[in-house]
């Protein structure tokens, strides 16, 4: 497909990301999305439809009781990881559509990993601290 006389500037077609990256990215987005259908539903019901207060919102003590339960704690941790992954994959999709080159894309991917780890780490710290007060 060599145009000897190019009529407009067009970058050569090369692979900016390793093969299979896009497939994995799509796969993770779909899997976390599917998980969120369940996890988010559970989370919403638990925090808006269970307690008798206005809007189903828990008071401080009720929050501590809730998060002190080991099963709940585990589910909420899974929820945190799934929602952070899905959110940052979606953000990645929007960013990739902005026309960056190969190097910028790698930096975006690296940045998103860092942000993801930081978010999950903070979340774990948050629920861990609250659970320990229960």
């Amino acid at each position: 497909m060599a145009t000897v006389a190019p009529t407009r500037p067009r970058p050569a077609k090369r692979r900016p990301v390793p093969a299979g990256t896009s497939v994995r990215a799509w796969w993770w987005t779909v899997i976390t999305g599917a998980a969120l259908l369940v996890l988010l539903l559970v989370h919403m019901v638990a925090h808006h439809f269970v307690v008798e207060e206005v809007g189903g919102l828990r008071s401080y003590q009720q929050v501590l009781e809730y998060i002190g339960n080991p099963l709940i704690f585990t589910i909420e941790c899974f929820f945190l990881v799934a929602v952070t992954t899905h959110a940052l994959m979606g953000l990645r999709s929007v960013l990739l559509d902005m026309g960056f080159g190969a190097r910028a894309r790698r930096r975006i991917d690296a940045g998103l990993w860092v942000l993801g780890f930081a978010t999950v780490a903070y979340g774990f710290f948050l629920v861990g601290t609250l659970a320990s007060r229960a």
């Binding site: 145009t3 009529t7 799509w26 809007g55 979340g123 948050l126």
Partner: protein
């Protein structure tokens, strides 16, 4: 698949070397044109709103983590927040959030089914089916949220 050769001196060759204007649909600079779905088909509306709700939900995620940090600061701080959280404005925003979650979630199921090649040809039917489900759920949720105030 084009193969042009450099036959020198073809008329108009220098003019053709300059790229003419490229017309784009939608407003805003070129990479952001996706959020203007005016005059477009159903699938683009779904995509556009999916993105906007997605970005809104990412923003909400971090906002939520920040708000939850009030719990670390003790009971009275959390109670102050609860007072705001039960005002009409806040509950109204909650309903908006519910819409965002429902649209993004249900449309996400549609995108997953279509975009993984499971039901590639059925995207419009799926959209309307999910619209019905989503509207009913939103109505129920809105009544519950606003009704509890």
């Amino acid at each position: 698949m084009s193969q042009t050769t450099t036959t020198p001196g073809l008329p108009g060759q220098e003019e053709r070397a300059q790229r003419g204007p490229v017309l784009r649909k939608g407003i805003g600079p070129t990479p952001t044109g996706w959020f203007d779905p005016r005059g477009r088909a159903l699938g683009t509306w779904a995509f556009s709103v999916n993105r906007i709700t997605g970005l809104g939900l990412v923003f909400y995620l971090y906002l939520h983590l920040a708000v939850l940090s009030l719990l670390l600061a003790g009971e009275s701080n959390w109670n102050d927040f609860l007072e705001i959280a039960t005002t009409w404005v806040f509950l109204g925003l909650d309903v908006l959030l519910l819409f965002g979650i429902l649209f993004h979630g249900l449309n996400g199921i549609r995108v997953a089914l279509v975009g993984t090649g499971i039901v590639p040809g059925r995207q419009q039917a799926l959209f309307w089916a999910f619209t019905v489900i989503g509207t009913l759920t939103l109505a129920y949720g809105a009544i519950h949220i606003l009704g509890s105030a």
